[in-house]
């Protein structure tokens, strides 16, 4: 066994030790330790990924050398290593992008607690990604919930408190369903390790016993994890939790936490229940329908929303709907498209949140959409980031969102009865996405001395009125990373802290844009990773 195969265990332990160490140091050191160790974990995961890419097989890591029925197992394949690497990247960039807000939103002596929660969040997510044991997965789901709740309520205000309570209640319902589902599985199969459960489930399927309990269990686990990842109609906790917390939290919650649960669900589908058994159950249709309805309703809610961060939060509901629609198609291609959308959505949603925080800051802290007029001129980098993220969300070719939408469309062609709803939902949702994202994108490039029409009441009226001002902006200059590097320093205020902050912010935005363009243009390597990973996932 080569040394690199220790990476899954080491990276989980490293993230946990980081949490312990950060509790003993002051805020600024805590940030350095947290970000530094996350970069190291990302590097380790990349190393593991390159190793697994060469071998092309997954392997089982036996914790403490206790063999299968007694010991606990980790299992790593390409998909797991890729996901771990991606989570580390998103976390570092989110922390960089929100460093100014963390300093402002948190009381000075509490900053290190934020990084403890962030470390615990990463540790639990890595454990969810790598674990091969159902009950371990449950325990880390709960740790993840607690850490996420801490991240939401770190910004002390009455709104975040209410949001955190609402999040906890919904989450606990989800984990309760997951727990009883796991117990029923243990009851039926007598195992807790995922691979062993699958063997038993296959033999149950051949003898045709326990058909209804198995269906019930699949339903309980799927719905439990769907509640936690905010699938429509279980999304009521989401707008408050994403909308009012500090921006790093919003970015991490939308890009990492909900994606971690979806990854766990995919793992359970492939490794525990078996993709065929899952595709044969009715639960898959429910997820498909919820996904499609969520795509439309989430976007409609976003159009009605007047607060920028809450609007972006509602857009997450729509995007989670995309992923569940992909799972609901029930083929490897559909799941692959969903997996690609996990990456694409994480990259663009975190970018949009961080860019939005820059726009809000440039408008004197007002987060209503009407107040943002001209914010793209006051903070050019944030404006460019928002436009890039918005284009990716809408699905403009060249950006990450387009690649996954194309894959959804292609995957749905396999089954004729699925193709029509998928195509219609994609079309409607794209138009709705364009309405609310372009409304903001146009508004932030409207000079604020021009008298404004009511932005919410008439998006189309606005578009006509402001055409002349839009023409002034050169899209090429805005979109290419080279064009904006020069502007990185413009927002810098005097003082080295502020300069360091804006440098980190600029790095985060530029790297996020680069990540989006990479996922949009170099789709083949990522798609190959997902396809090869899914083959050995089960």
């Amino acid at each position: 066994m080569s040394f690199v195969q220790n990476v899954p265990c080491f990276s989980i332990l490293l993230a946990m030790f980081a949490a312990i160490i950060t509790s003993a140091v002051r805020g600024k050191t805590a940030r350095k330790i947290c970000i530094g160790l996350t970069i190291i974990e990302g590097g380790m995961s990349a190393w593991l990924l390159s190793f697994l890419w060469k071998t092309g097989e997954s392997y089982v890591y036996v914790m403490g050398h206790f063999p299968a029925p007694w010991g606990n197992e980790l299992r790593a394949g390409m998909l797991e290593a890729g996901m771990a690497f991606f989570l580390c990247v998103i976390m570092v960039l989110s922390l960089w992008g929100g460093v100014h807000e963390i300093r402002e939103d948190l009381e000075a002596d509490k900053a290190q607690f934020y990084y403890i929660m962030a470390d615990l969040l990463l540790a639990s997510l890595l454990a969810l990604v790598y674990t091969n044991d159902m009950f371990t997965a449950y325990v880390f789901v709960e740790i993840n919930t607690i850490a996420a709740c801490g991240l939401i309520m770190m910004k002390q205000s009455d709104l975040t408190l209410a949001a955190a309570v609402r999040y906890m209640i919904m989450s606990l319902m989800g984990s309760g369903l997951l727990l009883i589902g796991i117990c029923l599985l243990y009851d039926m199969t007598g195992h807790l390790l995922m691979s062993n459960i699958k063997e038993q489930i296959i033999s149950l399927a051949t003898t045709e016993t326990y058909h209804i309990p198995l269906l019930l269990t699949i339903g309980l686990i799927s719905i439990g994890l769907a509640i936690k990842s905010a699938l429509w109609p279980f999304h009521t906790w989401l707008p408050g939790a994403y909308g009012y917390s500090t921006v790093s939290s919003s970015a991490m919650l939308s890009s990492m936490v909900s994606k971690g649960y979806i990854f766990l669900l995919l793992k359970i589908i492939y490794r525990v229940i078996g993709a065929d058994t899952f595709a044969g159950s009715h639960v898959i249709n429910i997820l498909f329908i919820f996904g499609i309805v969520g795509m439309v309703i989430g976007s409609l809610d976003a159009i009605r929303e007047n607060n920028l961060k809450r609007m972006i939060a509602y857009s997450s509901v729509a995007q989670i709907g995309y992923i569940f629609m992909g799972i609901g198609i029930g083929t490897d291609a559909g799941v692959g498209a969903g997996m690609y959308h996990i990456f694409a959505h994480a990259a663009s949603k975190a970018l949009v949140f961080i860019a939005a925080s820059g726009l809000i800051r440039a408008s004197g802290g007002k987060s209503r959409i009407q107040d943002l007029a001209g914010a793209g001129f006051r903070n050019k980098l944030a404006g460019a980031g928002f436009v890039a993220g918005a284009l990716s969300m809408i699905g403009i070719p060249g950006f990450a969102g387009f690649a996954s939408k194309l894959m959804f469309a292609q995957a749905s062609l396999v089954k004729a009865e699925l193709a029509i709803p998928v195509f219609m939902a994609l079309a409607v949702s794209t138009v709705l996405n364009a309405i609310y994202f372009m409304r903001v994108a146009l508004l932030i490039y409207t000079p604020d001395d021009v008298p404004l029409v009511d932005a919410v009441a008439g998006a189309f009226r606005l578009r006509e009125n402001q055409k002349h001002s839009v023409r002034n902006v050169q899209p090429e200059g805005v979109l290419s990373p080279e064009g904006i590097t020069g502007m990185a320093g413009t927002n810098a205020v005097a003082g080295s802290t502020a300069r360091a902050d804006s440098l980190a912010y600029a790095a985060a935005i530029l790297l996020f844009i680069a990540l989006n363009l990479f996922l949009g243009i170099c789709t083949q390597p990522v798609l190959q990773l997902i396809q090869r990973g899914l083959v050995i996932f089960g």
């Binding site: 607690i146 408190l161 209640i169 319902m173 309760g176 009851d187």
Partner: protein, 124 residues
């Protein structure tokens, strides 16, 4: 059907308790009641696990008098799961109670409907 239910009456009770707890957590307006519901729900799962691990006539899985045969003891794994679950539910309950205290200090009520109304006012 009826005989199955009668034979597995502990599991039936556990599932009914789970339903009560879940509904309480979902529908009750009062935060403290919700937390009680959460605890009923978790305890129901432990009852279910304990019932599944029990084998009539066997002893608790602690080796006494050098008897090592597996036929002498009940299944120890559900016991381990219950212990882990208790730790999780204690910490989650503690967090929820702490949140409830903070929420009460801010809004001076435990009724979630009233809190939601106040939040809505604040958003506008």
């Amino acid at each position: 059907m009826g005989t199955n239910l009668a034979a597995n009456y502990v599991e039936v009770i556990a599932v009914i308790l789970f339903g009560i707890g879940f509904t309480d957590l979902f529908l009750h307006k009062n935060l403290i009641m919700k937390i009680i519901g959460l605890n009923i729900m978790d305890t129901a799962v432990y009852l279910f696990l304990a019932a599944k691990g029990y084998i009539a006539g066997h002893k608790a899985p602690i080796i006494v008098d050098g008897v090592q045969s597996t036929s002498a003891y009940i299944n120890p794994v559900p016991g381990g799961l219950v212990l882990t679950g208790i730790v999780v539910s204690v910490s989650v309950t503690a967090l929820m109670l702490a949140l409830t205290i903070r929420l009460y200090q801010q809004y001076h009520t435990l009724n979630l409907d009233i809190i939601a109304m106040k939040v809505k006012e604040k958003e506008e």
